[in-house]
Amino acid sequence: MTWVVWRQHRSEGLITLGVLAVIAVFLLITGLNMANSIQQSGLSDCLAHAPGSSACGALRQAFENQYGFLLSLGAFLLALPVLLGALVGAPLVAREVEQRTHLLAWTQSITRARWLSVKLALVLSAGLVAAGVMLALLIWWYAPSAQLNGSFSNSRFDTSGPVWLAAALLALALGVFAGTLTRRVVFAIFLTVALFVAIRAPVELLLRPNFEPSITVTWPIGQSGPTLSSQDWRVAAGFIDAQGNTTNKLQCSGNQTLNQCLQANGAQANYITYQPADRFWTFQWIETGIYLAFSLLALGATVWLVRRRLN
């Protein structure tokens, strides 16, 4: 069965490898560039010794000006797990049913439960290995910018730890489930993306900021606020008015000073809500656990469908 799975999926594997190679070359070239730059400009040194100094601030600004756009391109890589799920996971069972080859596969001498489990085990492990390689590359690539902004914020969290692997597994599992449910490849691809977003977006936007109660610090207008580490995750920041409402939008006219503007808007104090950097791994494991649970659910449903419902 191992040979059959390899023969069936080798072209997908080679394509994945090719895509991975192209991305790797791009990341290696630009990543080396960034790593050299942060060393040679002295930014790395000053972040280590005097992160608050104005010289450091200028270097930091220069680095962000130079590489900000490049780093923002990294956001596209967040689509990789769901692509894997839609293009490798969704056809896994659906293409067999669509082309009716499941009738051939399931009437050989092995049970369909075994057929499915070998197929899932091999494809999922290959997918996880690919995701692992990608994760290592991404951590290395983001390392210079992580010195500046940490790995905890929303844009970096996904590519900085096991959550990445769990997301890849989830996408694959949802893909296989969607394909088994719909029995149609194209339909399954859309359903995979929809399911993935439906799980991931609420977890990322609603649950993640509250995995542990966030810390909110307030301080009066005009005074300096708390010193946060660059590795902390700033969840929200803004102003509080007399009624205790928070806002981060001010309506100022051109001739007002900042303080006048704040008074005009009724702001009484500053506030910042954050998650301290030492919670990073706790958050990674909680979210990894959530995705693993959904993955197992999708895989369990797939096994049930294949054994009981599919024909």
Binding site: M1, W3, S11, R100, L103, L104, W106, T107
Partner: protein, 302 residues
């Protein structure tokens, strides 16, 4: 005699539609049986149930005493199956399809598979998708035969083949039967082709078995009676009337004779197998259930 296939009140329902209902039949080992019926009669459903692709809604089916669903490890190696339109992995080379068979079947006979391919002139390095339809059907048949099954089930194996490919397909099949004595059940709507190769007949219509038995015996017991126009009640009290048609002066019956026919008022004629089958199918015309499960494009011979 031991039974290769045994169904007992076997039923399968899709939603509200019964694809097969109370199907009871026994196929003795060593037979080559034709499963005949119109589209939507439940032929595919019956075969899929027999090979374990489907779970019965009610009743049970056994292959050499094993349930293909409950005991797949015992039943699957003894079963060979070629689904309708003989699906193959189109991107696999023929050689790779043989490797697939070898890897997935403990009883696989590689020498047999290669010898057959050579005899058929099918190149092993050709991708399955680039073979002709007839060759693909042959490859699918060889894959099933090289499993060394005891029971071979073929779902409309001739439907998509031209007459020459049909003959070659049946020749491959009959060679294998002659060599190994395996039991075969093949569904079809082309009765004339089957008459030469089959010795057992199962007529399925409106999700019920209408007739099952040895073809020779069926031929001997079914007669056409032609006589002056009259009521059929007298005949029906002794024999089973399958079909009756009347003109102004004449009555024609097709009966299953439950004994000798003595009445001199009737002229007794032999009936072709095709006519017998059509008579059984005609019985149920109004009850034929349309079904989305069977492939379109196959016309009932009427």
């Amino acid at each position: 005699m031991s039974q290769a296939l045994e169904a007992n009140k076997l039923s399968k329902r899709y939603g509200r539609t019964w694809a097969l209902q109370d199907c009871t039949l026994a196929l003795p080992a060593g037979r080559v049986a034709a499963l005949v019926g119109p589209n939507g009669a439940g032929k595919t459903t019956l075969l899929h149930l027999a090979v374990g692709l489907l779970e019965p809604t009610a009743g049970d089916v056994q292959v050499f005493g094993c349930s293909p669903r409950q005991q797949p490890n015992e039943a699957l190696p003894r079963l060979g199956f070629v689904a309708q339109d003989h699906p193959l992995y189109k991107g696999f080379k023929v050689e790779e399809l043989l490797t697939l068979g070898r890897k997935l079947n403990p009883r696989w006979d590689d020498a047999l598979a290669r010898a057959r391919m050579q005899k058929l002139g099918i190149p092993l390095d050709r991708r399955a998708g680039r073979l002709s339809g007839g060759q693909q059907a042959q490859v699918a048949l060889v894959l099933a035969l090289a499993k060394r099954p005891d029971l071979l089930l073929l779902d409309e194996p001739l439907a998509s083949l031209d007459p020459l490919a049909r003959r070659e397909f049946l020749r491959t099949l009959m060679d294998a039967v002659a060599e190994t004595g395996l039991t075969v059940l093949l569904s079809s709507h082309i009765i004339s082709d089957l008459e030469r190769v089959c010795d057992y007949l199962i007529v399925l219509s409106a999700s019920h078995v209408q007739l099952a038995g040895d073809i020779q015996k069926i031929g001997q017991t079914h007669k056409r009676l032609i006589g002056p126009r009259q009521d059929v009640a007298a005949v029906a009290s002794v024999h089973t009337v399958i079909e009756a048609s009347h003109t102004e002066r004449q009555t024609t019956l097709l009966v299953r004779a439950n004994g000798p026919i003595f009445d001199p008022a009737w002229e007794v004629q032999e009936v072709s197998l095709e006519d017998i089958v059509l008579a059984y199918l005609g019985q149920q015309t109004t009850e034929w259930l349309p079904s989305a499960r069977e492939q379109p494009g196959i016309e009932v011979v009427k």
